[in-house]
């Protein structure tokens, strides 16, 4: 380490010079798409300076072949790293394919459709293909986009399903959907019917009067049994009033004893009062 440190400045200087002088590149770049059944496929020439303007389409049974000659400063040479990298544009996912390189720098790789990882098959945009050439030493590496690949999928064959791996993170919000509250009909209708129902009461009274109803016996009844008649009828009205209080404000345990008390009064006074009514009937007055 001490050695390297001592020569570091010198090396730095050297590498700076070398960088200016030496860099990786390639020549005679060719790509071809070979269909399985033979037949003429697409053939294009590629270079490191300008990528192909139109994407190369790759069918589901086709094979993509890339051949090039890697050169270090114009000299054919074998680099340690010679990759063709396919990149999915949305996720930035990359798949590297190392080229088989000869001593002379001639390199070749063939990629068939089925070699592609599942994630890339689901890509919506063309894949970006770039060539990466680099090696040890001072020569500058090359990382150049060269062409785009458009994947043609066979509509008859479904794509292999890709399930995203589970990751911890926030989940979608859930809001409980409540059952809708029951709705009352329009108030006008309710009010109309309520009024109609209540209007029958005066109609009833009028028709009674029309039929000759009267309370002429009241004085007679009161005269004969004043206390029992007043309490009997009063207790009936009182009972209905208790019901009304129960409906508006009282609870059951307040109500029940009062009902018991009023009921007792009703029964006791009722026997007397109705006895008087009976006596009137037997007297032929009813």
């Amino acid at each position: 380490m001490r050695f390297s440190q001592s020569i570091a400045p010198a090396l730095l200087f050297l590498s700076g010079v070398a960088q200016a002088a030496s860099s990786w590149g390639f020549d005679e770049g060719r790509i071809s798409v070979v269909a399985k059944k033979g037949g003429a496929g697409v053939k294009e020439k590629i270079n490191a300076r300008t990528p192909l303007s139109t994407p190369v389409s790759l069918g589901s049974t086709d094979t993509l072949k890339i051949a090039l000659t890697a050169k270090d400063n114009g000299q054919g040479k074998r680099p340690h790293q010679a990759f063709l990298v396919l990149k999915e544009q949305d996720s930035g996912l990359e798949a590297p394919y190392p080229l088989t390189v000869k001593e002379s720098g001639q390199a070749v790789v063939s990629i068939s459709h089925k070699d592609l990882p599942v994630q890339l098959l689901h890509a919506s945009k063309p894949l970006k293909a770039s060539v990466v050439i680099g090696s040890f030493g001072s020569a500058k590496g090359l990382n150049a986009p060269v062409f785009d690949v458009k994947l043609e999928t066979d509509p008859n064959v479904p794509l292999p399903a890709y399930e995203k791996p589970l990751r911890y993170g926030k989940k979608d919000e859930i809001h409980h959907i409540f059952k809708a509250d029951p709705k009352s009909p329009p108030k006008v209708i309710s009010l109309f019917f309520a009024a109609a129902v209540l209007a029958t009461v005066p109609v009833l009274f009028v028709s009674w009067v029309f039929l000759g109803a009267n309370i002429n016996h009241l004085s007679k009844a009161i005269g004969a049994a004043p206390l029992s008649h007043v309490t009997f009828f009063g207790s009936i009205v009182a009972m209905e009033f208790v019901f009304f209080l129960y409906y508006t404000s009282w609870n059951l345990f307040q109500t029940l004893p009062v009902i018991g008390a009023v009921g007792l009064v009703t029964v006791l006074s009722g026997t007397k009062a109705l006895g008087e009514v009976q006596s009137r009937r037997l007297a032929g007055e009813r």
């Binding site: 990759f83 990298v85 590297p96 911890y168 409540f178 309710s190 309520a194 009461v201 007055e285």
Partner: protein, 468 residues
Amino acid sequence: MMRSPLLSFFAFLFAALCVSAVSTTGNRVLAILDDVAEKAIYSKFLGDLEGRGFQLTFETPKSESLALFKLGERVYDHVIFFPTKTKGLGPNLTPNILVQFLNANGNILQTLSSGVSTPNSLVSFLSEVGIELPVDRTGLVVDHFSYDTSSAADSHDVLLLPPPAPIRSDIKNLFSAGAAKDQVLAFPRGVGAVLGSSENLTPILRAPRTAYSYNPKEQSEVVDDLFAAGQQLSLVSAFQALNSARLVLLGSAELLQDKWFDADVTKPDGTTHKTFNREFAKRLSAWAFQELGVLRVNWIEHRLNEVGGSNETNPGIYRIKNDVKYTISLSEYAYDKWSAFSVPKNDVLQLEFSMLSPFHRLPLKFDESHSSPEASAYSVSFKLPDQHGIFNFKVNYKRPLLSNMEEKNTVSVRHMAHDEWPRSFVISGAWPWIAGIGATVTGWIAFCALWMYSAPPADYKKESKKTQ
């Protein structure tokens, strides 16, 4: 009377001093090295650890006294594995024991080095948690596009990387926050790993896009069989078990050595940079040993949120459609103190109200009125579903690089009681029927009076007398 609170305060202060500046789970660290003398080259890193309150013990794998457990109890809280040349680690460090150590809430920081092949025991332990190492066990990561020209001009195996940013936008920046702009992380002669698909694995540092791993012994001329390249290679990986025990795999042990702390490195473009290694080593070990990214639940409170409702805290029973408020108070640990936890920018803390499946999953909002510098409260108000049964208030906050948190509070949700329904006169639809009862009762009372007191008409009386 006055003395006892004062005394207890001093006792508390003393206790606080004793455990000052240390991990939330303990301070006993075991460092395993080939040779105890090797610790000299890591002196700054180990000194930083001791400065933070850890007690270090050094052992070699061959040591007889080496044991992670004694009488079934953990003897150490954390273990650091430095590269060792021995093929096996002996009977005291089998993969099984290491898994047990994680299960017992122990934490492991494991380092690799390209020059030294990784022991069998550690390889199988790593594959147990889903981390795959190069087959030959001596992979070397190189990048011909970003290396230190001053120390690795030819071999390109000292990678220069920007301080690691979070892999996702909703993860807290634990490792590179506050790094100077021109600082770089030097990653000398390291091994890259490939992570499985488990959600408990997180890459802390990924290799650059142009980097790749090769076997320097067999593939020095040509890379015929690629292990992994680019971002698939994880240089520093984190595994956090469900019990929040942590394992960090650092691909380059050399990164922790003194010579790379605050050193100068030169990029291929000729620019010179300071290394970020010392700070990174500190943060990485702090995360591994539960000093960073540790969450604590201080308290949880749920209550009725209705005007005139009961003010009881955490009642066991609610009614359907009750309005309730749920509040949770959280703190996060950083090196030596608990402070308020703030949810990362693009992340949310969520509350689930669930029976078998969630009925509600709602975001919890920061609640300033219950927060302090030491604790932050998050709360949400919502209406309980119209379904009765046994429910859970559940906060299941599991995020990469934060300790796991799963809080459940069970409550029953009951039906409406008979006197909790709206009264009939409140509902306009019931008015005609109320009127119906009213009309019936009125008519009936009048009828009773008529029946008792109505005199028959005069003519009819005569008629009926005749017939009788």
